[in-house]
Symmetry: C3
Subunit: 228 residues, 3 copies
């Protein structure tokens, strides 16, 4: 069970692994077989499902870039719920009242704002900032170096990228910047370094190749403005 | 190992967790580290892989809707096979001879018909009815409130949605209704509340924005009828 | 802990399951709860995360085709790293210095070349050959019977298929053949049996319906050549 001091109020499933230096708040529930790695900090009233791995250290091979981690630990805020078979990396901060659904994965150096939902099987890459009250739907892909402001809606299976040259030449990796209240329809494709304006709407299945102004709706391949 | 009465014919892997009130038929195999939660009912000759979590209770945060569960338990029919790292919710029924591949996830209030295949990493959301002999391919996304009739083929990475307003205003959530024998090509996008007629075909990568009649093939963005 | 003979240099997490007939090289690290199934061969200096299942035997139901396995075991080369919650099948070979990210899945009869990256949540189906120094990005889907030559880049969420008739009639299943140095943009859709020429580029969100010559860039639905 490791060396970490656990409060009496914690409810642990069977075969839970808690490594050293883990801090756990009051009234926390941790499901069967979940693994909490070194240094993870878990707030009061957090509920975690089974088979999760929390506090993963970054890894990679020689083809992959290194990433600097601003702070070394995974921090999970109060009243947040985490599903089953979830992986979250050390060096990220999940705020309070967040919901992270089953099979989701969140990498290092990312922040997830209060009340946000990270959907089933959704993936959030490194160096990403997600605001408050966002919805990142099932199987959506938030690439690295992305900014979602508050109240953004990312539909199911939305795809992003941050590498204009697909590894061919050096490039400052940069994902999308999606401003407050914007909504991206399911299975839309965003090219690297796109800005989506406040309250803009991107239709389902669209391919967004350039910036979208505020309050505009775009659809199609490539995505163009429609008048309603 | 919990309080459930297990038949002598069950084959259990190491560190299996079986909570109370679980019913297990004859000749069942359960892989290492798999977790069977309260009240789950497993039929004869079922084979389950490692690291699964079966019988998950629904969860969420305040941004997510509640769902009523018609019956409280997960029920798995005879001769069904479930892969590894799969999560399935309480309140759903999986029929006999079904195959659920690794990393798939099935939510509450759903039914999966006999001989259907749910592919690797595929996700089936709540309140969904899937018929007999369907194929839901790898990484396909079946949104909530969807109906697939018998013999439907859903290609890999197909994306659906059930929320016309993307959370902006109240709306009766409604996924697609895909009729008997229809086939949806890989990475096609379906908008909410679309009906696809019997034996219709949707081409790969198409975006379906309105109903498709029976026996018709549609392709493109938006999807239009082609003559063959 | 099973009957396999383990070298003294192995570092095992808690509750690791190692079945019989497993061969493990020097200086191998295996994370908590990981399951290594019968006959798996692991090279020196391999690092494996938590909650993996390695060496899975193929399965299926009567709707799914059988596959012949050329050699019966999973073989993992030296210095390869495998993340958390990963599943890999018996009958595949992963070369040295490969990185397989969290939640990825690789099926039987596949080979992954040296220094290649298989991204987070990416899926590689059966009978697939992936060359050296390839990048298969997050959530990309490599269908069965696919060939990626060396130095290929597959963007995030790329979708492939290998079944022209979607199960409707007999057909020799055949995925794409992607030649050396080609790059496929994120969320692109490839139809079955497409050849992508050397150093060709497919734009993000494109739908590729026919072969792409070498050194050409194609974009759109259906994908067409652009002049730069």
């Amino acid at each position: 069970m490791g060396q970490s001091q656990l409060p009496e109020s914690v409810k642990l499933g069977q075969h839970v692994v808690i490594e050293e230096g883990v801090k756990i708040g009051e009234n926390v529930t941790i499901g069967h077989h979940t693994v909490i790695l070194k240094g993870t900090v878990i707030g009061d009233n957090v509920i975690i499902g089974s088979n999760c791995v929390l506090g993963v250290k970054k890894s990679g091979n020689q083809k992959m870039r290194a990433s600097d981690v601003k702070q070394p630990n995974l921090i999970i805020g109060e009243n947040t719920k985490i599903g089953n078979n979830v992986t979250i990396y050390a060096g990220s901060e999940i705020a309070d009242h967040v919901f992270v659904a089953d099979h989701a994965s969140i990498r290092e150096n990312s922040t997830i704002g209060s009340q946000t939902v990270i959907g089933r099987g959704a993936i959030v890459e490194l160096n990403t900032s997600i605001g408050k009250r966002c919805t990142v739907q099932t199987l959506a892909y938030i690439t690295g170096d992305t900014i979602l402001e508050d109240d953004v809606f990312i539909g199911p299976c939305v795809s992003m990228s941050n590498d204009k040259y697909m590894g061919k030449q050096p490039y400052q990796l940069k994902g999308a910047h999606i401003k407050k209240g914007a909504k991206i329809g399911n299975n839309a494709t965003l090219l690297p370094n796109i800005t989506i304006g406040e309250n803009a709407i991107v239709g389902a299945g669209s391919v967004v190749t350039k910036d979208v102004p505020a309050n505009v709706t775009v659809v199609g391949v490539p995505a163009k403005k429609i008048t309603k």
